[in-house]
């Protein structure tokens, strides 16, 4: 019990020492990590599927590998853009 009160005292001291701007920066930093983490889920799955299917297609028809590769990079570029917009949100929250 005594230990808990001491921890509470420490955290109260931390909160009291922070100015409102610092508190805001703290919560923005936490949310920034969350924002990028959430934004990376979907594109991660999507890019995995694109590469997997492209490898399947290249293994089936090696002579069409060049065309498949170009189209694969196009698909990756479009999918990746979503994660990168999440990254921009991270930058804006953390640094702006």
């Amino acid at each position: 019990m005594e230990a808990l009160t001491r921890i509470a005292h420490v955290s109260a001291r931390v909160a009291a020492e922070l100015t409102p701007a610092e508190l805001k920066a703290n919560s923005a930093a936490q949310m920034a990590g969350l924002a990028y983490g959430l934004a990376a889920i979907g594109p991660g799955i999507g890019i995995g599927m694109i590469f997997g299917k492209a490898i399947e297609a290249m293994a089936r028809q090696p002579e069409s590998a060049g065309m498949v590769r170009t189209t694969m990079f196009l698909g990756v570029a479009f999918t990746e853009a979503l994660a990168l917009i999440g990254f921009v949100a991270f930058i804006l929250l953390k640094f702006a």
């Binding site: 420490v10 020492e17 060049g66 990756v76 853009a81 990168l84 917009i85 640094f95």
Partner: protein, 274 residues
């Protein structure tokens, strides 16, 4: 009981006293991305961008002055490899033979973006000029103007916007849904995503390198517990080397993707789907 007291000690140690930071702290973004101006208005990023434009121009000027009848070597060999890559792997794959006239534009774009990306991994320079929004935004705007102008030139003002807004082969009732989506995706999302893709990729790579460089520096040069921290510091240093090699790939891939997407947009505007 012992563990809670240990936890308290750890918390008290980790919580910095007011006005004094302990351990590892990340510098503000401005010290990473903005340098002091060399001349007012000209900083490191501007110098890198100007240099990469100059290097690309000089390379192709030197190559064009060599005798074309002899076997190519040196600058001409390099230039021919790049031109062949653009024609074979980008134009033929996306626009076909009729798009060969776009080689100079796409070549300039590819070489400039690649040379702007590359300083991100060159030691002592280590700043990709495309990690600032200015250059990607301008390039994307240029691409937007070019592909719209091409579409209007080849299909006429009315025909181009008819093909963009009312793509053929869609049931009439669906146009309520399709037309706004197409309008936004073609005229707004295309240039925006083109610019943000290049910018965010290069900035993310740059930040990764900065973080691991700072981490290994602060661990290897630690003042307390050196025997424990220095072996740990070798790990982020190894990852730093690996990430630098990865950034070489990313620098090339982003220049390639930007050029391929430009080619796709121009090709789509030249030959509408029937």
């Amino acid at each position: 009981m012992f563990s809670t007291q240990l936890a308290i000690q750890v918390v008290e140690k980790l919580v910095p006293a007011a006005g004094e930071g302990r351990g590892f702290s990340f510098p503000p973004i401005n010290t990473i991305l903005r340098w002091k101006d060399v001349v007012p208005g000209i900083n490191k990023v501007v110098i890198i961008a100007i240099l990469s434009a100059l290097i690309g121009t000089v390379l192709f000027l030197v190559a064009s002055m060599k005798d074309a009848r002899k076997a190519p070597k040196g600058a001409r060999n390099l230039a021919e490899i790049i031109v062949e890559f653009i024609e074979k792997n980008i134009i033929m794959e996306t626009m076909g033979k009729s798009g060969m006239g776009w080689t100079p534009f796409l070549l300039t774009m590819f070489v400039f973006i690649y040379l702007c990306n590359l300083p991100g991994i060159i030691p002592f320079i280590q700043m990709p000029a495309t990690a600032r929004m200015g250059i990607p935004a301008f390039m994307a705007l240029l691409v937007w103007v070019v592909f719209n102008a091409t579409g209007i030139k080849h299909q006429g003002l009315f025909g181009y916007f008819k093909n963009v807004l009312f793509p053929p082969g869609v049931p009439k009732a669906l146009y309520i849904l399709v037309t706004p989506i197409e309008l936004i995706s073609t005229l707004v999302v295309r240039p925006f995503s083109l610019a943000v893709r290049l910018f965010a990729n290069m900035l993310a790579g740059h930040l990764l390198l900065v973080i691991f460089a700072l981490l290994s520096q602060s661990l290897i040069q630690a003042e307390t517990m050196r025997f424990f921290l220095i072996p740990i510091g070798v790990l982020p240093f190894g990852l730093l080397i690996f990430l630098t090699a990865f950034e070489i790939l990313v620098a090339f891939l982003q220049a390639y993707i930007f050029t391929v997407l430009t080619a796709v947009y121009i090709g789509g505007a030249t030959h509408p789907e029937h």
